[in-house]
Structure formats: C-alpha cells, structure tokens
Amino acid sequence: MKNLYLVIISILCLTMLTGCTESKELHEHAYVIAIGIDKSENQEDRIRVTFEFVIPIAFNAESNSQVSSITTVESTSLHSAISLANTYISKELNLSHNKVLVFSEEIAYEGLEKYVSTISNDKNYRTNMYIAISKCSAEEYIKNTKPELEKNPAKFYELLFRGYDYTSLLPNSYFLGFFLSTRSTHANPIAILTNVDTQTQETAKAIAEPSESLGPYDSNITAGNIPKEGGASTAALGMVVFKNGHAVGELTGEDTIYFQMSKNSFEEVYYSIYDPFIPQNTIAFNLSKKGNTKIKVDFVNNKPLIFIEVNLQGNIISINNDVDYQNEKNLEIIQKHLEYVIHRNLETFLYKTSKKFGSDICAFGKIAAKNYLTITEWKQNNWLEMYKFSYFKVKVNVEIEKSGLIFLE
C-alpha cells in the first residue's frame, strides 16, 4: 500500500519535469541595449527600427573585437520588427536590459500613443528605461554614439541620462514617468531632446535667442548646437513638450533650469548675468535651493491664477577686480538685478508653456486639485484645457552670501 502511494507521488512529480522549457543558457540570448524608431522614407505606414546589441566576448581581457553591433529593420510595427530580427540574428532577442528608447522627431510630432501603449503592456521591458526624442533620425543617433570613457555602451547610456542628479540642465525622463503623464489628468509629459552634434569639425558659434541684454544665455540652446569640439559626437540637451499624445514644441537647455525650479526638483546650477556696473563683464553665481518652491492655484473667473514663489541662495564665483564687491550696497544692487533677471526669464518660460504650447508640464494640476473635493468635480473642469488661459504671479527671492570673496583692496 505504501509502495503504491510512493509510485503515484513520483509520477505526479515527474510531470513537473516538463517545466524546463523556460530554461535558456546565458549565451543563447542577444542583449539589446538601445532601440530607435524612425519613420520610413519610402512607404507611408512603415517604421524603421534600429537595434543595438552588445557582444559579450568583447569584455574578455584578451579580445579586441567590437563591443556593439547595430542593425536596422523596416516593418509596420515594433513587434513584427522584433520577429523579423529574430530570423537573421543567431540568438533570441532579450529586451530586459534595454536602456534607452529613441524616437525621431517626425514620429513625435505625429503621435506616440500607439508605441507607448504597446511597450507598456509588455512585461519584458523595464519601465525605468530612458526615453529620448532625437532631431536627426534615431538611427544616426545610435550609430554616432561612441563611448570613450567606458567600454560598455549600456553603462554609457545609464550614466549619461542620470545627469539630472548633478546638473540642472537635464530633466529626468524615464519611460514610466512619460507613460503616467500621458494618462494623467494633472500634467503633460516631456521627453529629453538629443541630436548628433553637427559642428565637430569646425568652430561653431553660439546660436542664441535675441535677448534684451539680460544675460549671456550660454545654455539657451538645444542639442546639436553645443559649441564644442571633441568628446562624444552626440549630445542630449533640451526638452520636447507633448500634449494629447503628440509633440507641440521644443524647449532649450536654459528653460530646463526654470522647469526644475517650478517643479521643485531643482538642485544647483551655475548662472551668469551681465554686470550691472560694467555691462561688458559677466558675473557668475552658484545658485542652489533654499526651501521648497511655494505654489498656489486660485480660480478667478474660471481662469487659473498661479502664484509661484522661488527661494534661492548662492554665492558669487567669478568677479572682476575693478569694482568692490565686498561693499554691502553693491551686493544689494547685484542681488536685486539677479532677482529681476530670473523673474523675467521664469515668467517668459511659464507663459511660453501656457500660451504657446498650452501644456502643463510643470504639473500645476496637482496643486490645483486641492480646490476640489471629489474626483468627479475635478474631471468636470478639464484642467488640461483650462491651462492655456492661466495667469502667473511670480516672486523670486535670492540671498547672496557674503562669503567666498578673498580678494581685498
């Protein structure tokens, strides 16, 4: 009797052996680390998908082979591109280590909705991969990315797009944030802008927007126009603004600073203005956050009125020897001038998002929802449509510390 019991249990356990269809050795995967999607030039409804693979044997100490290989496939959708690619690549594609997803500008202006929903439904992708829009085609961007400081291109992408930790010129654009913002009733999404740098061989001039002599606007440019030579041949700078699932415009690198200030994720930045005493010189400051940004939303005649108060602190970095900056009166003049400059630029940025683009990228909707009690009321007043009628009242407080100056008369 006991023997029969054991025999039945063993037969039951033997059926569990059939589960190892899932088992795949490490060297039977092809690891994709970047995907780029372009519109096809020849046919209307097709897309070109670019995959970048990592070749693991290049990580051995002795070998000198290429680290990554790039291939492009043309088809109607992302998943059929993957199945086509599986036919001529000797291993099965593994998408779980994908680091960045690049779309070209044409697709962004047309509409990203279908790609984003397909990708978010697939559990293979990790939702903290980065999403980027590129001015040139995605294929060129991926082909021109040659990392110099590390061997592993996956690490290059990770570290590059993590720049929002230590500089305010880059926003945090990860896929889940983008996807949540497309579905959200409070805010609109943004994505980082990338481009191949076209001015590597010749000296470039800074292309800046005309100003009223308020500042040198070093970073008032987008990617592709950075005046540099050497280094990586691609760059990421600036943002693309979305509304209703397709892109409506671009913002420069300097606007990202104001974006971070309004969104309360500002850390620190090097800012420069023209000297109020000697207009040819510039003064550079190191500004950082002093307390949270205070935001309040009121409704006046069914139009939103948004109060923003930004608190900053900083110290002067570069000075000119001719004027005495230790004097308190002089410092006050400089402080007031700095506040005025930031105030003007912040207002310009906010009205640009509101009037020109009509999309609430700084997520003021979250604060506006405080005025309602239930979700049905909130949904009735459609915040995203109301945003373009909004007015702003901006207040900037900067406190310049009197330390750090060692030059005496």
Binding site: M16, H29, Y31, N60, N152
Partner: protein
C-alpha cells in the same frame, strides 16, 4: 550436515541451561560453566579451584575469571590470598556471613544466583567465586581499566575552554562527568542493551531538574530495544530517534564533558555507551545544532556575531549553487547589467550547459573530500591542495568551466566546513544536490517549493515530546531564547521552558550581586 545438527542441539541445550539457577554442589557448577565457556577450545577463562578452612570445616571453592579483562593483582590480593592464607574460626557466624563480613577483602561484591547474570558479569571482567554448599555465588568487581589517556577531543576543537574529551572506557567517562557536574543529584541509571553484547549504557540526568516525563520516555525506549550487538553510540541514535527516515539528526552527540554538563543543567538527559567516546543528549531542537562548544566561554557579543556568520554559512551551503543556476538560466532580467556581461563573456566559449558543469564540479569536490578523509595524515593535506588546484585552475585554463562557477563552488565548500555539527554537514551536502536539480527545473519557484515544503514538514516533527523547530517565542516573561542570539549569562535567568523542567529559574534576578551591593552601599 550431522555436525550442524549436533552443534545446534548443543547450543540449544546451553541456552536452556542459562535460564536456570546454580546448584549447591560445586562440581556441578564447574561442569556447567565449563560447558558454557569451553576452556578446551578457547583460551581466556581461568577456573581456579582451592580450599577454604573455616570453623574446622574445609570447603572447596572455585574462582572463575577471564584473564586480560580482570586485574590479576586484585584477584590475588583480595580474593585468593585471604581465603587461602589461614584457618578461620568464627563460632557464631555461618559460612555466608563469615565470608561476607570477615574474610573476603574485596570492596565491591554482589550475590547472584541466575546463571545468565553470572555469565554477563564474568564477560564484563568480574570474578565469580563459587563455594561448596552455598547456593549463591559472589561476584567481585575486579575490572581492569586500561584506556586511552584523556586528551583533546579530536573533532570538536575549541580555542577557549577546557580541552579534555571522553574516552572509550565508561568508567573513566563517568568519573570525568561527575567531576564536572559535581552534583549529588546526578543519577546514572544502568541499562544493558544487546542480547549478546550486553553493552553497558548509562542514562544520566539531574533528578531535581529534569522533567520526569522525558526521563520515563527515554528509559522506556532504551529498555525496549532488541538487537544482537550494540557497538557504537551512533547505532543507538538511530534506534531511539522518532523519525529515522528524516535526513536531519534529531539528537546531539558530543565528546566534551563541559557541553554535557551544560545540557544536563538545562534539564536534558544524556546517554553514555561503553566503548564509545560520543555521548548522546536528548531531546534536541534544530537550533541546538547551531551552537558550538565555546559559545558559553566567550563574551556574548562575540558569540552572537559568530552565530550570525554561521547562519550565513548554513544558507550559503544549501542554496548558493541553486540560486546561481536559477538566476542565470531562468531569470536573466533580475541580474545587474554589468554582472551579466562579465559572466556572459566567458560563457560564450564553454562547451557544457550550466547544469552539467555544476554537477560535475560538485561531485568532484565530494570525491576530493572523501579521498582526503581516508588518506593517512601525511599525504592527506597535500592531496587536498593538489586536487583543488588541479581541478580548479586546470579546468578554467582548458576552457571547460567558468571562473565564476569555481568561485561559487569554493564558497559553498568553505561554508560547509564552517558547520560545527558533523551530521548536519552531511545533511546539507545531500540537500544541496536536491536544490540544484529543483532550480534547474523551475528557477526560483522550484527552490522555494522545496524549501517551504521541507520547512513545513520539519515544523511538524516532535523529538521526545519537544517540537523540533521551536520558535522564537517569549514564555514566562523570559525575553531571551537561546536560539540565534545569545543572552549574556547574567541575564539568562530561566532554563528552556519547552523542556518543562522541575524548577524553571536558574539564576537569580540579579546575578552580579557585588555590583548592586556597591550601588546600594554608596
């Protein structure tokens, strides 16, 4: 054929003879014992006949003993000499009383009548003294006590703590234990196990601490074993366990008297077996297999740290190869990218799938261990080094296995050496293979299926009335349970309550009286 039948008939007759009592007549007794012991065929037994003169009567006597087992000086001085040397004259005493009270100089004597018992005693090394017209005989304890000198226990090394260990003679062991425990309530009950070997087993407990239910249970089990020969305490462990089919050991076995003493003071029962230096302690819980000998001699912070490291070692020695197989074969998305590329770099050029590699490396490690254990000491250590270097380095250079795998197997081997309990290390070696195969079937799901089913079955095991996996619970306001974290010995006030001892408190509420006296005095 006739020979076999005749021999079996003869042995049956002797068995029947053993069940009777001795007679008054000395010659009958001598003949019976000569049949049993066959002195014409084998050497060993000595039948010494002599005469005793008492009260002007002379009685024939015979002393039967086995030379080699008994101490001949003692026999000559205490038995033969006083009985033979002069003529005694005690008027008001009869023969038996005169011999017991006045003549026989031996310290430890006993009266026996049944032949079975006398045979057992003579086999143990005592001397049986038969006197004509007496219907009982005297058993004199003249056992010789040659044994290995008491030295460091070979397999349980402690850096800080006493260095003496048990030896094979039960008398020396008893003496050592009594010296350490030093309590008059230490009871050592003698039980003889084995129909032919009649091995002496002593059941020891402290009578005003140990739970009488446990003591009765152990005694019941020991008395109702029927086997032929009992050679070692390891055999006895398997005969009295609750669940002999389970891989895990359910008794503690140790060579050190200080460990036995601390277990006895908690209320457990110890069993000593003759000819075996290992002493068994019951009941046992899973967490007792964590403890090593010197946990009570060193500071509680150090002991807790070492126990936590042992916990990590246990976990690594069972699960680490299985987790490696599961992660790289099934769940590639759970590895960090850099680690993945450095493993995949080398895996590209290897011929075998991962499961075969791991099984081959583990089996060869077991072979090296077995070979090193059987070699004489001079060659054993160098074989270990040669084997490890050859297997590891050469297979990596020949591109047969990956270096990451060698690292995993080496860490697993080191963790299994850190296990202080010998039987538990065997259990883990077997379980490791089961988990590797389960991981190759279904990744993490397979490993956790095995682990949780095993845990649930272990939690339902009772060993001598005490649950095997007793929990970390607080009983009776005792904040410390001596499982993983060791309490300082001045805070550890209660004996383990799952044993339900007769008195629960072992240390008073303030153990460092001098400290509180100082504070009060000031």
């Amino acid at each position: 054929m006739n020979n076999r039948i005749a021999l079996r008939k003869k042995f049956k007759k002797i068995e029947k003879l053993k069940k009777t009592c001795i007679s008054n007549n000395l010659q009958d007794n001598i003949n019976m014992f000569k049949e049993i012991y066959s002195p014409k065929i084998t050497i060993g037994t000595v039948f010494r006949e002599f005469e005793l003169s008492l009260n002007n009567n002379s009685y024939r006597c015979c002393a039967i003993f086995i030379e080699g087992l008994s101490d001949s000086d003692s026999i000559n001085d205490n038995i033969l000499k006083p009985l033979m040397i002069k003529q005694y004259n005690f008027d008001n005493l009869d023969l038996a009383q005169a011999i017991e009270d006045k003549i026989l100089l031996q310290g430890n004597i006993d009266n026996k009548e049944k032949i079975e018992e006398i045979v057992i005693d003579i086999n143990a090394g005592n001397c049986a003294l038969f006197i004509d017209t007496l219907s009982h005989c005297y058993i004199c304890d003249v056992k010789q006590n040659e044994h290995r000198t008491i030295s460091t226990p070979i397999n349980e090394v402690a850096i800080k703590g006493p260095h003496s260990g048990f030896v094979e003679s039960i008398r020396a062991n008893t003496a050592l234990l009594r010296k350490v425990v030093n309590d008059e309530n230490l009871m050592l009950e003698k039980i003889e196990i084995g129909k032919r070997s009649n091995t002496t087993c002593l059941m020891g407990y402290i009578s005003n601490i140990a739970n009488p239910k446990i003591v009765d249970d152990v005694r019941n089990r020991l008395k109702n074993i029927s086997i032929d020969y009992l050679l070692d305490s390891g055999q006895l462990e398997q005969l009295i366990e609750d669940h002999p089919l389970l891989t895990m050991p359910q008794t503690i076995s140790t060579e050190r008297p200080d460990k036995i003493a601390s277990h006895l003071s908690e209320g457990r029962v110890c069993i000593m077996v003759d000819n075996s230096p290992y002493v068994i302690v019951v009941p046992c819980t899973f967490w007792d297999l964590f403890h090593s000998a010197e946990d009570y001699s060193i500071r509680f912070q150090h002991a807790t740290f070492i126990r936590l490291i042992r916990l990590v070692a246990y976990f690594c020695s069972i699960f680490l190869p299985g987790i490696y197989v599961a992660l790289t074969n099934f769940h590639v998305s759970l590895l960090p990218t850099d680690l993945l590329f450095s493993i995949a770099a080398i895996k590209e050029s290897l011929p075998f799938p991962l499961l075969i590699e791991i099984l081959v490396m583990e089996i060869s490690l077991e072979l090296i261990r077995e070979a090193g254990a059987r070699m004489p000491n001079s060659i054993g250590s160098s074989l270990g080094i040669v084997g490890a270097v050859l297997l590891g380095q050469a297979s990596v250079d020949a591109h047969l296995v990956s270096p990451m795998l060698i690292l995993v197997v080496a860490i697993t081997a080191i963790s299994s050496f850190a296990t202080p309990n010998y039987s538990l290390a065997f259990t883990f070696r077997i379980l490791r293979f089961v988990y590797i195969i389960l991981a190759a079937f279904m990744g993490f799901l397979g490993i956790l299926f095995g682990a949780i089913t095993h845990l649930v079955i272990l939690c339902s095991v009772y060993s001598f009335g005490v649950p095997y996996m007793v929990g970390f619970n607080r009983y009776n306001k005792n904040p410390f349970t001596d499982t993983v974290v060791l309490a300082p010995n001045w805070l550890d006030e209660f004996r383990p309550p799952f044993l339900n001892p007769l008195n629960l408190r072992k240390t008073s509420h303030i153990a460092r009286q001098w400290d509180s006296n100082n504070k009060k005095g000031k």
